[in-house]
Assembly symmetry: C2
Homo-oligomer: 380 residues x 2
């Protein structure tokens, strides 16, 4: 009878009605019936992306969507700027370098955000840059940059702005068109509350022009072929049909809820989790001025092994937080508040955190985190 609650930055908790949708009988993908679902999904995703741009659907994890962005936009030798302030920024750098781009790495200290001014000065020095790669929610550190300001800068140059919104979409606001985000990548298993297996890539007219002239070989992730197929309401290869069908339902739920209500809810949950953590002496890891609402990364007390903490929470009590990555292993815990979670889920997470911290000898009065979170949740 152990609970199975994921407070992790992907996969996220799947609500029961979407589990049911994932378990429905399959339909064939080369049929008018499935084409109806493609149309609904594209339309719904455009609302969530806040865009009129093309959206391409790929069957892969989020990284496949990132690879699609890189191989379609960059030809060998092209200049690229990639922001590296955590594990997912690092992935942009690895992808750009793998495909032989001339890559300028904008290194950012973990927990800090890249700035529009920083990007402007790099673009000034390298005006022939083809693409700038950033991350909407760097989940390894809990950081979100000022995408709007960065978008305004990049729009003044030849370069396209590429945003990894795999973890951020539908949780942290991104106004694709208004903020000049030329390419935005996301996935099915984060804010969209489904199983992993689908990636989405939006492309602005400016990006499409660049993609047209791309010279890096690609086949499975060829967005030119994907565009052709999707204009005929089709996909180039067999899509993850089950997830696509369930996505129709997920996007309807999101529409009913309302995007701005969702953003407000995640902010509300994030604030409560932070209040709870602070009350028992856990310090926020990122600079508070750039902390994302996707998840809360907090430092564990010096005498506590964070890896052991999350292991006990998960294996003994069924509540899953993420641990720290790389040099933060054991030193940080990451509590996601995204997707189908409500106030009671984050209180459950904090209750379990209190329980295990208490067992591990951290000194505090039981109930302190819960009370602080509850006050935050019910504040005017």
């Amino acid at each position: 009878m152990k609970r199975n609650l994921l407070l992790t930055p992907g996969p996220t908790h799947i609500p029961p009605q979407l589990c049911e949708a994932l378990g429905r009988p399959i339909i064939h993908h080369r049929t008018p019936q499935f084409q109806d679902n493609i149309k609904k999904v594209v339309e719904g995703l455009k609302e969530v992306f806040q865009t009129k741009n093309d959206i391409y659907i790929l069957t892969s994890s989020g990284t496949g969507g990132m690879e699609a962005a890189v191989v379609n936009l960059l030809s060998p030798g092209d200049k690229a700027i990639a922001v590296d302030g955590g594990k997912f920024g690092e992935r942009w750098v690895e992808l750009c370098q793998m495909y032989k781009a001339n890559t300028v790495v904008y290194k950012v200290e973990w927990g800090k955000a890249p700035t529009a001014a920083g990007i402007k000065s790099l673009l000034e020095a390298q005006p022939d840059t083809k693409a700038v790669f950033i991350t909407l929610a760097e989940t390894s550190t809990g950081v979100t940059p000022d995408v709007k300001a960065i978008g305004e800068v990049v729009a003044q140059y030849k370069a396209v702005l590429v945003v990894d919104a795999v973890s951020g979409l539908a949780v942290e606001e991104i106004k694709t068109d208004e903020w000049h985000c030329d390419v935005v990548v996301s996935g099915s298993h984060k804010g969209l509350m489904l199983a992993p297996g689908l990636a989405f890539v939006s492309a602005s007219p400016k990006a499409i022009e660049v993609i047209k002239n791309g010279k890096t070989p690609c086949y499975y992730f060829d967005l030119r072929e994907c565009k052709k197929a999707m204009e005929k309401v089709d996909t180039p290869f067999t899509p993850a049909i089950g997830i696509m069908n369930a996505l129709v339902d997920s996007l309807e739920m999101i529409k009913k809820d309302g995007l701005s209500n969702m953003f407000a809810r995640y902010k509300h949950l994030a604030r409560a989790v932070r209040a709870g953590c602070k009350a028992i002496g856990l310090e926020l890891f990122p600079d508070p001025s750039c902390a994302t609402n996707v998840l809360t990364a907090v430092k564990v007390p010096a005498n506590i092994d964070g890896e052991k903490l999350t292991k006990i929470m998960r294996d003994t009590y069924g509540i899953t937080f993420a641990g720290g990555q790389d040099h933060l292993k054991g030193k940080v815990i990451r509590i996601a508040h995204m997707g189908a979670l409500d106030e009671y889920d984050v209180l459950t997470g904090l209750a379990c955190l209190e329980k295990v911290l208490h067992q591990m000898g951290h000194q505090f009065e039981l109930g302190t985190a819960l009370a602080a979170a509850q006050k935050s949740l019910n504040a005017k």
Copy 2:
């Protein structure tokens, strides 16, 4: 109350207990709980592949698995032989050419199979060939080649043998190790009776040596990274968790059924479908000596539009057959008998085929196909 029966070569019918498995709550993939499932899946797949080789799991459709084989085995300029006798052979050619391999195309007439002798003479002429690409079940034409004989030939050369078994695995026998199939590619949504979203690639020691020295850039489909991760019972990127979990159940069902019983059943169903079709004047499309048990491709009568036929069957009666591809559009129908289908499903398919052919004016006595199939199904 319309039936939804897929007699298509992928996706295939998903049995209710696997639909249920696909709809179960998600678990996190970086946990011992999920690692148990990775272990079970790899072990189960090795039995189905009939191999002791490594098996790598990718989150993509079958084509992603094919791309992985090409980009990991071939460096630009490497010599490759690709058999093209239908749509899926054509895909091997396109992939090899896209990634700049020096590609010898072994063109085979649609409906015929490549021969071991044909491959031997090509290898004699090009002894430095790095890889030979074939298709276990060419579903566009309904053909299976003599993989065993081809394997014996290729094993005598430097080249590795790569088999697209996306549609064939668990339906048409393939003895990966015994037949010297160095790389075998498959997917989740064919013989394994699940939703699309996972691809599998097996690699022999001979193939692993070639992969080690591959120089084509790759990231998402990098099998070297995949091997490293899977040796730690992990995947490099977030896998299609839901399909993986359901695959544990699918592989258990297959194990209970027994591979040799399954192969015999598909042969039994194929024979009955062919007897039924023949009885109402529909001629088998491929050369009978190389017809696969995965599906039956038959020519439609000259006065009947095959596209209209399959459209009415699907949209009016809910029974889906596949139509012909490319120059066979409208001229051929393809009836799959793979995955979770039994005698009554193929009789249902034939009953609907009779109904619509009759409506469209084809002359025959109603019940003729059913009777012939029933006799075949119940023959000693």
